[in-house]
Structure formats: structure tokens, C-alpha cells
Symmetry: C2
Amino acid sequence: MSFTDEEAAYLRENPMGRLATVAPDGSPDVVPVAVEFDGAYLWVGGGSAVTRTRKFRNVAAGGEKVALVVDDTVSFAPFTARGIRIYGAAEQPFERVGMVGPGVYMRIAPTVSWSWNMAGEPVGETWYATRRAHHGRHGRPRRRERTDQSSTMPTTAPGSPPAWAARAPPGRHTPERPRVRL
Amino acid sequence: MSFTDEEAAYLRENPMGRLATVAPDGSPDVVPVAVEFDGAYLWVGGGSAVTRTRKFRNVAAGGEKVALVVDDTVSFAPFTARGIRIYGAAEQPFERVGMVGPGVYMRIAPTVSWSWNMAGEPVGETWYATRRAHHGRHGRPRRRERTDQSSTMPTTAPGSPPAWAARAPPGRHTPERPRVRL
């Protein structure tokens, strides 16, 4: 199961999201980010200074579990909101040319997502129902797989990893799949 | 140090944010939320079903460290964005009457915040500078203090804690102050 055509179109037409990452001490971070959706993965980053941001440092420190929400308020009267929440696994960032130009990007493999009100209807007496989707086990590709896939992606293939990435300690987060209920 | 008048006005005029919380297994969550700013604390919640959401269950399970971002894109051409990122400590939720009516709310004490472009200027060749503020040590009030403060707040004072709150295990997150660099 994957994103529906409607969800994919929404992600392409709304390239702004908010990304949550977790520091090694358990502190969350959340910031607005430009989001590039390639049909399967979500890309965040751009420029070179981005590696000094908290979100990139959290992923470099092993916090590969991330959450991203892309949502907008269509109207306040009548109240109409819609969006997609995505849990995912972030790979170690590398240099490529992406949506906001050349720079360092992280690729996020979605693991679970919930969308609401893709049709853009005003809210009724109860909150919107959500569509949950599980996105398979591509969330933790091995290095070999990533290299293979990169050659088919519209990206600059990574060379040797940048020095700052080599400083990242091994992952601290367990690979368990989150058991999620809304 | 606290929020500037400009930051406080921005928080009042932009009552929508995105809240990040962390589950006991280290997985982040992020969702859009209505945010009520009372001049010192930020309140999130409303209704009774909210206690079944991931964000409330994460806090009930001991994940009191949260992050909230309130931001908007003023214009795409020229690109103009502004916002405030807030790290905070969430208290265990209780019933009150808040911005979106009666229900269960959690109160968030800000610990550190970063604001950018409160003046609403188009971005230049470099990204906006941020103003960082540390908000003192009110982030972990004791139960006694919270009760005292509640009586001066426009809230329904909490009675005995609801049954779902009593199931929360003791906090798992360390009380260390995050060392934050952008």
C-alpha cells in the first residue's frame, strides 16, 4: 500500500511541511521545511549550511525516526483543513541537486501515513476521518540498495560521504515498527 | 528573558501551530494544533477525545519534552516567511475551558524559543537571523505550584486527575536542559 493519487498530488502541490526529529537526549525538534516528493520518498534539505541545523544533526546522531506533517487550512469559515502526517525513516544525508538547488539533502522513506480530507470539504460535527497507509519495508535500505536506487533517481549520486556524516555514531534508535493508534 | 511584545502578538494572532512529541520508543509525532497563548504558557487540546491522540498519549507516557512551531509564509514572491520555534515542557493534561471550548488541555511551559522575521521582511541573500530566548525554570512546576497558579488562570481548576492520566507511568525523559544550537 502506498500514497493514493490524491495524496501524491497533494504532496506535490503543497511543498511545505513541518519536520520533527529527535535528539539523542530524547528532545524533539520541529521546523518548517520545503518538501520534495519524488513519488515514493520525501526529500528535505538544500544548501550546505543545513548540516548544522538541529534536524540534520539529530539524524546524523542516529535519530533516523522522523515525522513530517504537510497540511493547510483551506478556509476558516467554514473551517476546512486537510493534510497528511507521515512517519518515516531518514537516511544519512548526502549531496545532490534538489528542489531548492544543490546542497545536502536527507531522503525520508515513509513507513506509515495518515491523510485527512483530501477532498477539501468543510468539517462537520465530527473531525475528519483519516486514511492510514503502511508503506512497506523500504524504510531502512542498505547502503548497497541505496546506491542502486540512486542511479535511477533524478539526483546527483553520492560520492564518498561528507566528513560531517562520518562523525555520526551508529544508530541509537531501535528498528521496531511504531504501533500507532490515533 | 521571555517573549518580546512582537513575539507575543504573533503568537496571539497566529493560533495554529505544529506540535512535536516523542513516544517512549523514541518515535516522534507531529500534528497541526490550535495554540492558545496566555502570555506565559501555551495550551493545546480541547474536547475529550483528544486524550486518545498520539500527542496526548506521548505526554501521558512521560514524554514531557515537546517542540512547537508557529510559522507562516507571508508571501512566495518575494519569499517572506516568519515564525517561532519553541521547546517546552508539557504538564499532564487536565480539564478546563479553553480556546476551542471545554475539554482536556495540556499546558506547555516554554524553555527555549527562536523567532525569525517578526517584522515580515522578504528574505535576502541569507536566511533570517533568529532571536533566541531562554524562558527560565518554570518548565517543571511541582503539583503544588501548578494548583496555585491555576487559581489565577482563566481555567477550570483540575479536580482529581482523570482515570487515563493515572495510568501514565513515571517520566522516562531526563530533566536535562537541551543544549541547542541552530
